[in-house]
Symmetry: C2
Subunit: 183 residues, 2 copies
DNA sequence: GACCCTAGAGAACGAGCGTTCTCAACGCAA
DNA sequence: TTGCGTTGAGAACGCTCGTTCTCTAGGGTC
């Protein structure tokens, strides 16, 4: 096992455990056991837990945003595609809300590096929504962001595609109104 | 100091600390120091930390919901009043998102009693929104809930009244559309 | 005053945390 | 074969946590 493979295995274990059970609730020993990476190499690759936490969030951000961006890019109705993608995400059996908001709630006064990743993630999401709304509707991005976040939060407590569908309908209504307004 | 006063002081300290720094990040000793209640009485009133956590959430739920309900009850435009109330809440200097969602993110796999309070809180909020939407618009309650939650989450990362205003505008648009639909 | 129940202050306990250290096993150049 | 740097397994450390225990000091009641 080299450092790269160790890194991947550690991040896989960290993501599964941190997302499912919370960051503070999962100790380094659990991650060592689950990943099979020796403690010595763990601390060689990630010198402290904080580094592992930020790396977990960064990798998840990259994958999540790329996934969503891919689903939106090839769609005729980009805004609709966002909420379809959300509906599928909310239906995954291990869905437990937004990893970044969970981390923020837990570590709100914690290390600044973690909060930076959360903020960056949300800024990217807003940017993506502004593009999906299309030119001339950039002002809708903030309202779409509210709908996306709201649907995610509601789905965290009541899993399934319904919150995404309802938010999608609201988004379509707002879009139609904005379209009428600028016509 | 009798048990009642101890209880109040403990809940005051617990609410301030848990909400500001997270539940796991605050130890019982901090609460003892901040409240001035001796450890022995603390454990007499709340036999374990879990009891203190649930009591904190229950009391906050009662106060929060009553406050919002009061603001909505006397308003000519109940839905608008909800988002005005939110704008004021988001502008409080120590605002740090929804205490119940923060607790859920942190203790997602934790004690069931805590999750019950979170669920109950959100069910009450949805009920309140259904009443605010008025008879004939109960179906809007779920969309309003998404807007309220979304605004709260966005404001947690970017404090100030703006998210509430934007969500309020979106709500008004949805209401107007629904009004047109049933006319 | 003698007794007893209660309360306060804080030490103590066992467990778990993040992190570091020990030590034996191994790979491999000379 | 000898020596040496690196690795893995896990014990150990120092700390903090939630919780309990100890000891002392009142405060009534006879």
């Amino acid at each position: 096992m080299d450092d790269d493979e160790a890194r991947t295995r550690l991040l896989d274990a960290a993501e599964a455990l941190f997302y499912a059970e919370g960051i503070q609730a999962v100790g380094m020993d659990r991650i060592r056991t689950e990943s099979g990476v020796p403690l010595k190499r763990l601390y060689k690759v990630f010198p402290a837990k904080e580094a592992l936490v930020t790396a977990y969030l960064v990798r998840r951000d990259l994958r999540w945003t790329a996934d969503l961006r891919g689903a939106v890019a090839e769609a005729a109705d980009p805004v609709g595609a966002v909420f379809e993608w959300l509906a599928a995400w909310f239906s995954e059996p291990d869905f437990r809300g937004c990893a970044f908001l969970n981390a923020y709630g837990e570590l709100g006064t914690g290390p600044a590096a973690v909060l930076d990743v959360v903020r960056r993630h949300k800024a990217e999401l807003r940017e993506l929504l502004a593009e999906a709304a299309g030119p001339g509707h950039e002002g809708l991005a903030d309202q779409l962001l509210i709908l996306v976040e709201g649907a995610t939060v509601v789905a965290a407590l009541d899993p399934g595609p319904d919150p995404a569908r309802r938010a999608g309908k609201a988004a379509a209504a707002l879009l139609a109104r904005a379209g009428a307004g600028t016509r």
